[in-house]
């Protein structure tokens, strides 16, 4: 029996994963206004790559993580150029349809290559087991997730606030045309940001195989969650996404544990309510959705 603290901690880890995967979507949505429903596909790629490399190439868990990041980043660059870019100025409907199409293709390919079942990953010994703290048993694995989430958050915030590139990103999110007029290559900024965001999604997907699960329908199953996190947190806001992801992670885990019959119902209700209450997102920048 997990105590409340234990459940909260689990929710925190879950939220950290949601954050990792969703942050890229948040920034790109804030930057380009491009509705990318297929963002979960990058997480899938990270996860499946991890599974495959560990199984067939014998690589260790930790070694695969950066590879997951890089592979997803590269895939995103390819997709951006070939498929997303032509539709930046198009209607949202078209963007929805395109990205739904990408999800379908991803589901089909995943089923073809890896079969329809859930994937599981053997964690390295260092991450197995638990540690007792404050009367609660915390698994090393989940600690690792929380730590990874924290480190990446710090890195992102630092990158945004302290580097020149970060300044360009912020400028582009706040005022697209003005940024262009000032000589910022918004397109280039977007590509790099997109790559980083997708890479993080891949990383999140790889990290989260045992927590979020991984099957061909992953991108579709979690679509509502990613969108919820981004929209409630406010597109373009990293801290907002973090806050929303943690809240959602804790709420969902708590609900699943204490009232399992209700389950996803709460989340969708929360989605509708929050959207109405916070049209700009919890900490969002930019215009209302």
């Amino acid at each position: 029996m997990l105590s409340l603290l234990g459940v909260l901690f689990d929710g925190l880890a879950y939220g950290a994963l949601l954050f990792l995967i969703s942050v890229g979507l948040s920034v790109t949505l804030g930057l380009m206004g491009f509705i990318n429903l297929s963002h979960g596909v990058f997480a899938m790629l990270g996860g499946y790559l991890l599974v495959t490399l560990m199984q067939y190439a014998g690589l260790s868990f930790v070694a695969c993580l950066p590879l997951a990041f890089v592979a997803s980043a590269l895939l995103s660059l390819a997709l951006e150029r070939a498929l997303y870019r032509p539709l930046y100025r198009s209607s949202h409907l078209k963007q929805v349809l395109l990205t739904v199409g990408i999800i379908f293709v991803a589901i089909a390919c995943a089923t073809y290559f890896w079969g329809p079942g859930q994937q599981r990953v053997a964690l390295p010994d260092a991450l197995r087991g638990q540690i007792s703290a404050a009367g609660v048993d915390l698994s090393w694995y989940r600690l690792f997730l929380v730590a990874a989430g924290a480190i990446i958050t710090l890195a992102l915030v630092f990158g945004l606030e302290r580097t020149r590139f970060g300044a360009r990103v912020r400028a582009s999110v706040d005022a697209h045309r003005t940024a262009e007029a000032m000589g910022i290559h918004v397109d280039r900024v977007f590509q790099i940001t997109f790559a980083i965001g997708s890479g993080l999604a891949g990383l999140g997907g790889a990290l989260g195989v045992n927590v979020l699960g991984l099957d061909p329908y992953f991108a579709l199953k979690y679509l509502a969650y990613f969108l919820l996190v981004v929209v409630v947190g406010g597109p373009g806001s990293i801290m907002g996404t973090l806050l929303a992801a943690l809240l959602l992670g804790i709420a969902d885990t708590t609900a699943k544990y204490y009232v399992p019959e209700v389950g996803p119902f709460v989340i969708y209700l929360a989605m509708v309510v929050l959207l109405l209450a916070f049209p700009h997102g919890l900490l969002g920048r930019g215009k209302a959705l």
Partner: protein, 339 residues
């Protein structure tokens, strides 16, 4: 109150008036379409169950076209109304009222109410918020139905849907013959209604709203009220389509409320071509026939090609099949000098 104008038009307006009138009249192709559907009864007597499915989906798609093509509202949760209608009709029949038309009315009322209430959420905000909210509402209803097994039968579906004869006269047969004619009659009736609506000043104002909402406001159109109106109406039609499915299959599956159904419907409307009213039917036929052939090979195969089709359509093809057909028609008309 003004009566229907019997005054003559000034002569200079006449040619333009006639051009507009020509657009309103039933074209030969349209008449051929509906006659063809009637002919299916005789030509494909063994496939009438499938044909009913196509018609029902076409009707459902038309209802989405109303809000997507004519009013520009993008929704990922239109199946909610389909499901509401299906369950209403199913439950009504299960608990004693076997007259099918009563079921249709109940479905329209329930779905319409759902549409009206949700319109306050859906019509606020921009596209992204709308996508989220419609997605959320759809998922919510799905979960509700999933959990309320006592009422809906949950995953196993609603059973015991007994449908009596229409008007007490026409019994549903096992071959689906009466069912097909029933579905055809209802679809045609609703179609005529919708067609008249779109050709009316009301339809014109909707097109204006879609074209340029700022301008519509500036000429005094109460946009919110009008969109709420069409959204509710579209929900009612979707509900009737759901009811038809429940009644002709005597069963309501949980997937009437699924996201997959909403997504498939979007695809159907896009393939067929928006804002043409027929696009929904054409798209439904193409989609269901293709699905029937390909999904049997393997579901992933189907999903893969569907995804590819979506990608190609959004990148290259703009107006769907109907758009292509209309363009061909224009070319043919020019070529042969038909006005």
């Amino acid at each position: 109150m003004r009566g229907v104008a019997a005054e003559r038009l000034t002569p200079s307006v006449m040619p333009h008036w006639q051009a507009l009138r020509r657009r309103e009249r039933w074209r030969p192709a349209e008449i051929a379409f509906w006659l063809g559907l009637a002919a299916v009864f005789f030509v494909f007597p063994k496939h009438l169950v499938f044909a009913s499915q196509v018609l029902i989906t076409g009707l459902f798609a038309m209802s989405l076209d109303l809000i997507l093509g004519y009013a520009g509202i993008v929704t990922l949760g239109h199946a909610a109304f389909f499901g509401l209608g299906a369950y209403s009709a199913g439950l009504l029949a299960k608990y004693g009222v076997h007259e099918p038309l009563a079921g249709l009315l109940a479905a329209a009322a329930t779905a319409g109410l759902g549409g009206y209430l949700s319109s306050f959420l859906v019509l606020r905000g921009g596209d992204l918020a709308r996508l989220m909210i419609t997605l959320g509402i759809g998922l919510l209803l799905f979960e509700l139905a999933n959990q309320a097994t006592a009422l809906t039968g949950g995953v196993d579906g609603l059973q015991g849907v007994e449908i009596g004869p229409i008007f007490g006269l026409f019994h549903f047969d096992f071959l689906g013959k009466v069912a097909y004619l029933y579905v055809l009659a209802v679809s045609f009736t609703l179609f005529v209604l919708v067609r008249a609506l779109m050709m009316s000043p009301y339809g014109l104002s909707l097109r204006g709203i879609r074209d340029n909402p700022r301008r519509a406001v500036a000429i005094g159109v109460p946009i919110r009220a009008r969109l709420t109106n069409i959204y509710t109406f579209a929900a009612m039609i979707a509900g009737v389509a759901g009811a038809l499915l429940a009644q002709t299959t005597q069963f309501v599956a949980l997937d009437v409320l699924s996201f997959q159904r909403s997504a498939d419907l979007l695809i159907i409307v896009i393939i067929g071509g928006t804002a043409t009213l027929y696009g929904g039917f054409i798209g439904a036929a193409l989609f269901l026939i293709a699905q029937d052939r390909l999904a049997n090979l393997s579901p992933e195969y189907w999903l893969f090609w569907l995804g590819i089709l979506l990608i190609i359509t959004t990148l290259f093809l703009d107006a769907g099949v109907m758009g292509g057909l209309l363009r061909i028609e224009t070319l043919v008309r020019r070529r042969f000098g038909i006005r």
